[in-house]
């Protein structure tokens, strides 16, 4: 979907090691919920990509 509403969304790319295993889009207003999707020792990490394609944060930082 390519319209100006894209600015409201971020993409979550889920990695297992260096391999991307899943990608989904959520509203930016719900971004805080990903902190609950990562627990210490998990082999997965989530990279947050903004609507311009910038890589902003990954859950390894938590």
């Amino acid at each position: 979907m390519d319209n100006d509403l894209n600015r409201y969304f971020v993409t979550l790319d889920v990695y297992k090691g260096t391999e991307k295993v899943y990608s989904t889009t959520i509203p930016r207003s719900l971004l805080h919920t990903i902190s609950a999707c990562k627990y210490p020792g998990s082999e997965f990490n989530i990279r947050v990509i903004d609507h311009t394609g910038n890589f902003r944060i990954k859950t390894d930082a938590f």
Binding site: Y22, R28, S29, C37, K38, F44, R56, K58
Partner: protein
Amino acid sequence: MITSDERGVIIQALRDKHTYWSSPANRLSFFNGFDNQLGWVPSFGIQRDNDGYFHMQDDLISYCNLQNGYVIRIRKTWSENDWTCYTNLHNLAIESNEFRIDIPKYREIINIDGHDWEYAELQSPNNDYGQNFNDDVFEWPELTNGILVNPSITEEFKNSTAQYFRELAETSSEVLKYACQVAETNNCGLPRNIVKPTSRFKDAIGYFWSDFDQDNWVDTKQEVLDYSFAVYTGHLHFAKICGTMDDVRIQQCTDYARTLWTTI
């Protein structure tokens, strides 16, 4: 204004999403074969359309129109008090002009599979979905490689972030004060998520509080204050991860919030 026929279509759409989300097979498919055991799957699903998005979880299905801030939702766990108190609080918002919340527009009870769900419509106060804390985070200098603090962050920037959090505590205090008044009048508790940082949105006019219409007015004042303080502190520490706060400023902000909130 939504007509009765339009409302019927909307409610059916929410029912359909509930049916979809209730199916374990559909959910597994939605998450591409992964399940929650892996530690990253959210407890909700999002489906976009041209104007907004559907939010699907076990006890809540909602649609948010990003073009005009109109929200429709059904929720499974509710009480009569919730809507009454929320509406009373909105009335106080209008009378006092000291805070703003989403406008309660319409409510009815619908039955899904033998259970009464609450259907409600709300609209953001300026017909604008607005921006919340997460949008403000995206205004901060981004982390290098998603992890490392951006070296461009200055002490001045940290000061402005601290001011942001102090203001957050102040605006929280205002709406909490009035919510306590409503709870006392109605002899009930408070909504837990009322002053979560991510519940505060801003538009061209100012800040407004959103999303806590989904809460039950059941928590004691102390429970809400403890929870709000914990969440507030968590957001401060997230800011530290992002490099826009430090321990000294976090302490100053938490002291400030604690002082404000204990006088409510």
